[in-house]
């Protein structure tokens, strides 16, 4: 068997009139990957913290994400129960097996059935935790891991995400910096999801329909953990 890899790389180098060792090329590539230089970053999210959080909420609502603001972790189970009731949804949730979520005061909601784990086909609603919220476009960043199965973000019809105000950043680049700080240089979790609104499609006569395959509804519970400056 011929070595397709060598062949293709050889063709690329011939077309580029270069060899792998052409002086400066390897250095240029390493320098670029190392520098992680930012391109033009939109000024719109360059705001004081509180206004940045407000921008996140506005942008999220503009893409049909609903947002409820609560004063602390203790209020999250109540907010989940209220949301389900308001939407006429069954009082059952599948939460990610994340100690921060599992440790919430779910017992104060005796009518709410709470199970943790990966998503099952029959699950109607999931509750997961975000890693960051990007104010620029009202985007949530979620990362996979043992305590954060990806299926919870896509399989249920309703997705509730718990986000702390302190996790809101301005542009995508700031979210990457937070992730790199957590994971190490050049390392990503297996899957990182940027989620901006519920699932939608325009495939039938370009009219927007919600809930094509992923969640029909996306709801953010925003925990105000930064104090009211």
């Amino acid at each position: 068997m011929t070595d397709r890899r060598a062949e293709i790389l050889g063709r690329l180098r011939r077309s580029l009139k270069a060899v792998a060792e052409t002086p400066g090329r390897g250095e240029a590539v390493q320098a670029r990957i190392g520098a992680k230089a930012r391109g033009p970053v939109p000024a719109r999210s360059d705001l004081p913290r509180r206004e940045m959080v407000t921008l996140f909420v506005e942008q999220a609502e503009a893409v049909a994400t609903s947002v409820a603001r609560v004063a602390g972790d203790g209020e999250v189970p109540q907010a989940v129960a209220d949301y389900l009731k308001g939407q006429n949804l069954p009082a059952e949730v599948r939460i990610s097996p994340d100690p921060a979520l599992e440790g919430l005061a779910w017992s104060e909601q005796p009518l709410l059935k709470v199970e943790s784990g990966r998503a099952r086909l029959e699950d109607a609603t999931s509750v997961t935790a975000a890693l960051a919220g990007v104010a620029e476009t009202g985007t949530l960043m979620l990362a996979s891991g043992p305590t954060a199965p990806t299926t919870l973000n896509f399989l249920p019809e309703n997705h509730i995400v718990v986000l702390r105000a302190s996790q809101v950043v301005g542009p995508y680049e700031d979210a990457w910096d937070r992730l790199r700080a957590a994971e190490g240089e050049g390392q990503l979790p297996r899957t990182v999801n940027f989620i901006t609104g519920p699932s939608r499609t325009g495939d039938i006569e370009q009219t927007i329909q919600m809930g094509a395959h992923g969640p029909r509804r996306l709801h953010v519970i925003l925990v105000e953990d930064e104090g009211q400056a």
Binding site: L12, V29, P149, T150, T191, N193, Q206, H213
Partner: protein
């Protein structure tokens, strides 16, 4: 995919006469143009981002070999496999091999133009594996056994009524009297049917909008979430991507993502942008056990270093076709291969040969809107012109056109003769056609007058006017009424 690009003139003629298609294509103009303009206007940095996006890709293409090696190294470290494939046939064989090794009976697929390029579905089917398209538009055209007619809206050539009829035909296990009046009902029906399929599938195949050298991530951008279910639920995930998808860093991809959705659908950001880096890790409760990347060349390495290199910057946003008057008139199928519109007119001859696709670069009015909206600033009209020149040199243009241009070239090199002849001809044409103002038929110009009238010359030639004005000391002719 089997090309019918050689039959472009006939395809286009048939398309403009199709009333159903005309109705469906109205949604292209209504659905995309205003939304893109608004999204661009809302972001003051949009033009700067376009420049930056162009520069990122130019830098990457100039070091493509090295970035691909860096990307591959990261994938391998993270437990994935990279398969380099030179041709469409090699890529589909490789995918079949991976599916067979997994004992696959059904595979789900996210939307992938590369999978169309290598005619993957036919190959899997011929080998006893059922491919299931999960993007709603792709699902619809799979039912109809049609290729996509647009790179981001594969079923844009269809009306709601046609889709309803297809669903009634194919979903015959559902009650015949069900109400499918609203698009929402059609979406819900497809959702219900596909949910079961996601879980049954043994292999999930997605494309990639980008590959990131820094960390080995492949990126998919969708609104439906189908790509995520496709890549998360089955035990094997295969990414098919062409060589030019690689970019250096997360910062670079952030720049390009900012222009992608705005140019494509006019959204600020698509619903789902997903970065995946490999198979399930220790402790993960879901995700694929195997992760493969099929890297396809299929002619790209040959475009590098040529006048067509810039086309490799394309991020397949679809803006050029959304703004193209030719595409508006004929739709995507007439182009005869995977990529329609202006980018198709440039790419297709590069990838499958000018002998097959030489007509496509003529499918342009040179209005320049494609280049004006292309987020990657690809000079599409210039490239179409290059192809036309090349086609002419290769003597592939039809004989009458070549003969006509040959005569013109002869006179153009002999100005005195040219003026004499042009003046004579103008006077003759003017005398013949002035009363009606235009010609419906003209000998030797049948190709022109078949589709449009030729306005009759209304006075002296441009050179004559120029000479007169110069004599009058004005230096330039006044605009003629």
């Amino acid at each position: 995919m089997q090309s019918t690009s050689h039959a472009f003139p006939d395809n286009a003629r048939a398309a403009v006469k199709n009333p159903q298609l005309k109705k469906a294509l109205n949604h292209v103009k209504a659905g995309f143009i205003d939304k893109r303009a608004k999204a661009a206007a809302k972001l003051p940095e949009f033009e700067d981002l376009r420049d930056a996006a162009r520069d990122i890709k130019n830098h990457t293409l100039a070091h493509l070999d090295l970035y691909l090696e860096a990307y591959e190294a990261r994938i391998t470290e993270q437990g994935g496999h990279v398969h380099w494939c030179g041709t469409a046939a090699e890529a589909r064989d490789k995918i079949l091999e991976i599916c067979r090794a997994a004992g696959a009976k059904t595979v789900t697929k996210g939307k992938s133009m590369i999978a169309e390029e290598i005619a993957l579905n036919d190959h899997l089917e011929a080998n006893g594996i059922e491919p299931i398209e999960t993007d709603l538009g792709e699902y619809i055209i799979q039912l109809r056994k049609e290729p996509p007619s647009h790179i981001i809206a594969p079923a844009v050539h269809l009306t709601k009524d046609q889709i309803e009829a297809d669903f009634r035909d194919h979903h015959d296990h559902l009650p015949a009297e069900r109400n499918l009046e609203e698009p929402a009902a059609l979406v819900a029906e497809a959702r219900g049917i596909l949910r079961e399929r996601y879980v049954q599938a043994d292999v999930g195949i997605t494309g990639a909008n980008f590959l990131i050298a820094e960390n080995g991530a492949s990126v998919i951008v969708t609104n439906e979430g189908n790509g995520d279910l496709t890549q998360t639920l089955p035990k094997v995930h295969i990414v098919v991507a062409s060589l030019e998808k690689v970019v250096p860093t997360l910062e670079d991809v952030s720049v390009i993502l900012r222009v992608l959705a705005r140019s494509a659908t006019g959204q600020e950001f698509s619903s789902y942008t997903t970065f995946s880096t490999g198979p399930r890790r220790a402790g993960d409760l879901d995700g694929p056990e195997e992760y493969h990347v099929v890297l396809l060349d299929n002619g790209r390495s040959g475009m590098l270093g040529t006048e067509y290199q810039d086309a490799l910057r394309c991020i397949r946003c679809g803006a050029c076709m959304n703004h193209c008057p030719v595409y508006h008139a004929i739709g995507g199928h007439a182009y005869g291969w995977v990529y329609p519109g202006p980018i198709g007119a440039v790419l297709t001859p590069s990838l499958i040969g000018v002998e097959e696709a030489g007509h496509l670069p003529n499918a342009s009015s040179f209005c320049g809107r494609c280049e004006a909206v292309c987020p990657m600033r690809i000079p599409l009209p210039k490239m179409m012109r290059h192809w036309r020149e090349r086609e002419f040199e290769r003597h592939l243009t039809p004989l009458p056109l070549r003969a006509g241009l040959g005569v013109w070239a002869f006179f153009a090199r002999r100005p005195a003769l040219y003026h004499l002849f042009a003046g004579l001809k103008t006077r003759a044409l003017g005398a013949l056609g002035r009363r009606r103002g235009r010609f419906r038929k003209l000998p030797l110009a049948g190709g022109w007058t078949a589709h449009r009238d030729l306005p009759a010359p209304q006075g002296p030639t441009f050179q004559q006017l120029w000479a007169e004005r110069k004599r009058d000391g004005q230096g330039r002719p006044a605009a003629s009424a």
